[in-house]
Symmetry: C2
Subunit: 424 residues, 2 copies
């Protein structure tokens, strides 16, 4: 099945908005074994829209059109869809009632120009939008089924998942109960992850699990897209694969599905009514910054501090100014963490000290990380070296700090070797 | 002149990479008064590439193709360009020599598959790439001049500015000395900025200055694109407009061109050999995080601290635990900043305390900001209320903290009203 996407709107065409709607659509379809073969972006221009619709209608089996369903004069999708399909626009009474109700529930009167959003090509199938006033619709142009979606990302996402993907899967003759399982890992590169998971798809009965990766350094997202006749079958299909992924990735899984590394760390600390102090240098307070603003963090994060010079680090935790004059080491990090623990009365302290290379930024630019986690009775230390330029090192240090804390709280080894560190 | 862009590559088509190259190209062209009218994305597929080239060659005057110039088998741009132009591929000897030299200077032997990058359609005009091994080229297909560019962003940007835009301007009959002046402001919304600058374009002799905005909350970038016969003329043309923008935006300009707000703040502190302590709450250490990792920050940033509960804020700066029990106020922020100054021995201290609304995130979610900047002899206070959801408030607080510090260091009023705060 040949699927095309048409993105509309001057803001996207002029580059004022980066087209993340398209990458979202394409990735989401791929999750369910559907491939986009062609994408076109045109502005709010009648002739270009008509031409784009006709060309896609000649080439494709299905076309997703994004944008142009709003209430203003430059929203042209319904009008041009009707022209391309050779029909008139007509009022969709149920959608008008839905919109009026939408405004009434918000104690507002519907502006008259919103009525335009209920004008659909005659014979179009309406696609529900429970989170906005733009009505989606499906209509046939040429040999393709066109599905029109709103440009607002939140509305697009909902319509894509609830309305569009089931229709595309049905059109492609695929089963329609669908589920996407996600694992977030830190410390495994994409090609390593790929080889670790070699053959897992075959563990599913009938081969209905599709494996995919999305790398956003320092984390890697691993996706298992599952199809089946119903959700029971999906769960049964997924179970052996899910178990295998968990086993093979092991300690490197930082979170699953919508959970985040920082959320897992905060949750583990809250669960034991623990409190935390963090001391940072080159990571600039970004470890604390991942946690401090989360709901519930006020009860956990006693203090986050950042300083760059050794004497300032000593001063901030109340150590003798000369305490670090021998240089950074994991033992020094332990001393700093212990001082922070004593000073703040927190139950846990994390110190992440970094010695960065001198000179201009370059790809070989590296940082040596000395990390300590201490509690009243325990001290855990780690030393590592990360290479790849200033920003790359900084991102890696933040993630390593959070991940070591997660490992400690989950009783896992904090010094397990990761793919991003340099062996010395 | 009708300009189209064709983006190629499976990574872009599948959404694995968000297509920022396209938005960059389109924005850059707009800066110089050129408009993209149509964009097409196709994968690494011979038939689709050929069709995309032919369709664009029939419609457009100029086409920029991005990607597919690499050394691997799925890089197909030269091959399909030759097919579409009806010519053979032939070895470009000068580019082969350039590549061999490129590898020699890096003490490496050129892999044999790189030779493919020097194979251009017969009669093509080579477009220099001083930062990579992909050779750009221009060729005529149908009625359009096609310009082929590398997918690596750094290489694309260089080729676009040095090679493509001058050719497009020449083709459009426009003058070719071009310059882009940029102002970064904080505290002025886009429509307000637009009205403030009403008529500035007309101050340029001959109307060769084009005004544009790019909002990336909390900052706004204002761009003046200037054309002229040579750079002297460009400077003369720009001068009255530049002066008017500086005057009308006044204190709201945080930086110009490649400079950043945090860089300006750090520079101003370094210039007076000052040192800084920062105390943060809901901004999670992100104010310090904007400064701490910059080269030279180690000599300036004595300490950055973050805590969420009032008693923890007191503890961190050595105040009595009950010192903030009356609640947040700008006077309380002043007390915290003064304590941080005494504690760290820094010359300047910034305290940014935030009281955030309770409950779930929503668009009406607000934060009250109490801010203080103190030195040995001086105390400056500010109170403000920002609305718009947790993330929006947090971003706004970080920028306000940095900007008040800039204003203080530049002897400007720190309590000037901004567009993003709510009048109480």
């Amino acid at each position: 099945m040949r699927i095309e996407v048409i993105c509309t709107g001057d803001e996207v065409l002029t580059g004022k908005i980066v087209n993340t709607n398209f990458s979202y659509i394409s990735q989401k379809l791929e999750d369910f074994g559907l491939a986009v073969t062609w994408e076109t972006t045109v502005g709010d221009d009648r002739e270009d829209l008509l031409l784009a619709f006709r060309l896609a209608g000649d080439r494709a089996d299905a076309v997703i059109v994004n944008g142009g369903l709003g209430p203003t004069v430059d929203d042209l999708s319904q009008e041009i869809a009707a022209r391309a399909a050779g029909v008139e626009l007509e009022l969709n009474e149920p959608w008008l009632a839905t919109m009026e109700d939408y405004f009434r529930r918000r104690s507002r009167v519907m502006p008259s120009n919103n009525r335009k959003q209920a004008m659909l090509p005659a014979g179009a199938e309406a696609l529900d939008n429970p989170v906005g006033t733009a009505c989606g619709f499906a209509v046939t142009i040429g040999r393709a089924r066109f599905m029109f979606t709103p440009g607002v990302p939140r509305e697009l996402r909902r319509m894509l998942e609830d309305q569009i993907i089931p229709r595309l899967l049905a059109k492609a003759g695929k089963q329609t109960a669908i589920y996407l399982k996600r694992f977030h890992t830190y410390g495994i590169g994409e090609s390593h992850a790929d080889s670790l998971l070699s053959g897992v798809e075959a563990l599913a009965l009938g081969g209905r699990v599709k494996l995919g990766f999305r790398a956003h350094y320092p984390q890697l997202e691993t996706k298992l897209a599952v199809r089946g006749a119903d959700m029971d079958e999906v769960s049964r299909t997924l179970a052996p694969v899910e178990e295998a992924v968990r086993k093979r990735f092991g300690n490197f899984i930082v979170a699953e599905d919508d959970a985040t590394l920082e959320g897992v760390v905060l949750g583990a600390l809250r669960a034991r009514e623990a409190t935390l102090a963090i001391v940072e240098t080159f990571s600039s307070g970004q470890i604390a910054g991942r946690i401090a603003h989360l709901p519930g963090a006020e009860a956990v994060l006693r203090r986050g501090v950042v300083a760059r010079r050794r004497e300032d680090i000593c001063a901030v935790v109340g150590l003798d100014p000369d305490a670090l004059k021998e240089g950074m080491s994991k033992e020094a990090a332990g001393m700093v963490a212990r001082a922070a623990l004593a000073q703040t009365g927190a139950t846990h302290a994390l110190a992440v000290l970094v010695d960065v290379d001198d000179g201009a930024d370059r790809i070989e630019f590296a940082g040596t990380i000395c990390l300590a986690i201490v509690t009243a009775n325990d001290t855990v230390l780690r030393r590592s070296r990360v290479v790849g330029g200033r920003d790359w090192v900084r991102l890696g240090v933040v993630e390593m700090g959070l991940d070591c804390l997660r490992r400690y709280l989950q009783d896992l080894p904090v010094d397990e070797r990761i793919d991003f560190e340099k062996v010395e």
